[in-house]
Amino acid sequence: MQASDARDGAGPDDGAAIRETMNIVIVGHVDHGKSTLVGRLLADTGTLPKGKLESVKATCDRTGKVFEYAFLLDALEAEQDQGITIDAARVFFRTDRRDYIIIDAPGHIEFLKNMVTGAARAEAAILLIDAAEGVQENSRRHGYLLAMLGIRQVVVVVNKMDLVGYSRDAFVDIAQEYRRFLAEIDVTPQHIIPVSARAGELITGASAQMPWYDGPAVLEAIDAFEKQPARHDLPLRVPVQDVYKWGHRGDDRRIVAGRVESGRVRVGDEVLFSPSGKRSRIASIEGFNLPAPPQEVVAGRSTGVTLTEQLYVERGEIMSHVDHPPSVGSGLRVKLFWLGRKPMTRGRSYKLKLATAETAVSIAAIHRVLDASELGSSTGKDRVERHDVADLELHARKPVALDLAHEIEGTSRFVIVDGFDIAGGGIVSEVFDGPALGQAARDASALRRARLGHPATLVLIAGDPEAPELRDLGRALERRLLDGGHHAYAALGLSHGAARALLDAGLVIITIDDADAPALHAAAEELRDAALARVVVDGEPGPEDISIQTGAGAPPVEQLLVALAERGRLRS
């Protein structure tokens, strides 16, 4: 840590007086009482600034409303009118243990993006369930999203116990049902606590109403959350945010600026930039108003370095040590949630933002779309709709440096921008088309296929390569395919090797040769996903052949296109 440790004379209570802070999100179905719980926590612990409670009460009097604890948070007129939280309000709150920023996230499905926004900032979560209503759609959806957002510490609070007569049986039923659900998505709640936020039961201490419960009250459970371990010991990752050279007032430093996502870096270290692969050494670590030039900078810090070589590095690259580089690839297997009003569809281009990198992406394959509320998967779905969670393969237009979700979180998370808006977010679970995987070759041909949007096909027109009508047909087909976005290539006299290479490259090859040209048949058979489409014009077709008649009806090229489409050899 370069700044505070090195600084002396910062005052006797600097450091000792600076307390630990933790971000906590409270999520749950609409009307299950989140704002009431937070309002109660604030009031019961004396955290409210003087005048706040009074001013909200006075506002209620003036506008003719009965005061509720929820109003402390729902300080906005619009919200009090509708009785629902619109956004994730941040509330500052303190216990003896530490300071908290409580993010009260809206439970209404319309505001899922606000809930996700709040939760993405949190280190721990309280999931609220209404004892009278039980586990609802959003109870499940929120549980699922918390897991995807990387929040591992979860406490479940079953609220409104007063409405079920503080019944132990009612509590146990809900607790069991929800625990089962969370287990399916690998979330283990630290506690499940029965409370009444309105009546103040089990918020800050034991409850006379629920003597059968022997676990902690909400406040104790919150204080039992642990800070995330520092990321100093993971491999070094510094996503390049910008490169500055001010060049005036005598400042000629060329500074590579960024935030250390993980690890640590020292002056003199050899570093690698990915995906460009450029290398250099750290000449200096720069800062402003620091007592001495830092020799080391660690995870979490926004910093800047100069290099011993004058390299052209760009925003979006990741600086690492040479021996622990990130993965690089343009094929990404991801888990993603979608918030956009317009569904995410195939054939459309989106912007991916991962760490500081940006690139165009499109859907290469849809593996699974989950209806998060039911956790039922629908494999047949070919689009990702608002509030869906999906398992996808994305193809990026240029390679991206990244890590996988279980390795380093900060460089595995991404958002998808549709138009001007962030419409989705997710984590990368696998990357291909890069040095990270041994099966790169296999994945590369799958990736090519995904990128081109059609399978590799050898269209063999049976006949004399010199026949003008066949050559016209071949050229017409090539042109039509190219116009339709296919990668088509018409060639004569192909050898086995050439045909095989062109098919491996994913092309639609059009050639004219003997109907039983064995070299070409072999080339098509040797490659997975490639196929031979044998075309017979005005002749006697075999059982597998495409038969084209030049007489009446559609022109030969149209007949050929229809036949290829029927066989699934064209872009879908």
Binding site: I18, R90, D242, R315, L339, K353, A355, V415, V417, I422
Partner: protein, 286 residues
Amino acid sequence: MSQLDELEDQSVYIFREAYRHFKQLCMLWSIGKDSTVMLWLARKAFFGHVPFPLVHIDTSYKIPEMIAYRDRLAREWRLQMIVGQNREALADGMNHTRGRLTCCRALKTEALRQTLSGEGPRMRMMPDGEYAEETEPEPFTGVIVGARADEEGSRSKERYFSPRNHANDWDIADQPPELWNQYKTDFAPGTHVRIHPLLDWTEINIWEYIERERIPIIDLYFDRGSGRRYRSLGCEPCTGSIESCARTPGEIVVELRRTNTAERAGRAQDNEAAYAMEKLRREGYM
């Protein structure tokens, strides 16, 4: 890592994102403690430089020391200083006796809107330290603002990057999602984005940081012998001082740890009507 380090790192990250993504970027500097800390953080982010102009909305009713302090620091730190004012309203004699909210709307909200869009006059500090009117001002598309979430209810709803339409409206119910360190940096023509690097800071954090970094804050915040000081700065007629003997940032931190009074209690416009601040903010108030 201390909490102040974490806050500093996050603010610096936001500054760099803003500078990277917005060609027409400016920062609002009210001369108060928050936006002066923000100015310091900009120098942290850009290694001693401030690579965008600072905008101050001068209502003409500011405490006079504020203007002197502004111009002194602007010269010392070689800041690109822009001052905006609603000249029409002032010529018409606008003042707080016509209603505090009416006055705020005209001299702050409307003045800010005109200054940002370039419709109103922009006075720019020249190399000689004097102000001259800018010719052909271009609209700003990114505006850095020192709002903190703990100030009052409506500010706690803000994003780090918060879009505003051409009329400066803030659509609270339909804000973009903000995930991890990814912000809204794409925007439609005619809109602009407010950027809030101080969103997570509390009033105490601000003073702790001023103390740690030795930031030369305006001395109206300190007791200069009268037993009173300002806790929040604004226009002279509408800003009250508080009873306090705090003479240093450290003493203010100690005092704040003991107090339970809201920070803006001395700001008269907040108490003017139900939801006053929210209304002002929806219309573009800082």
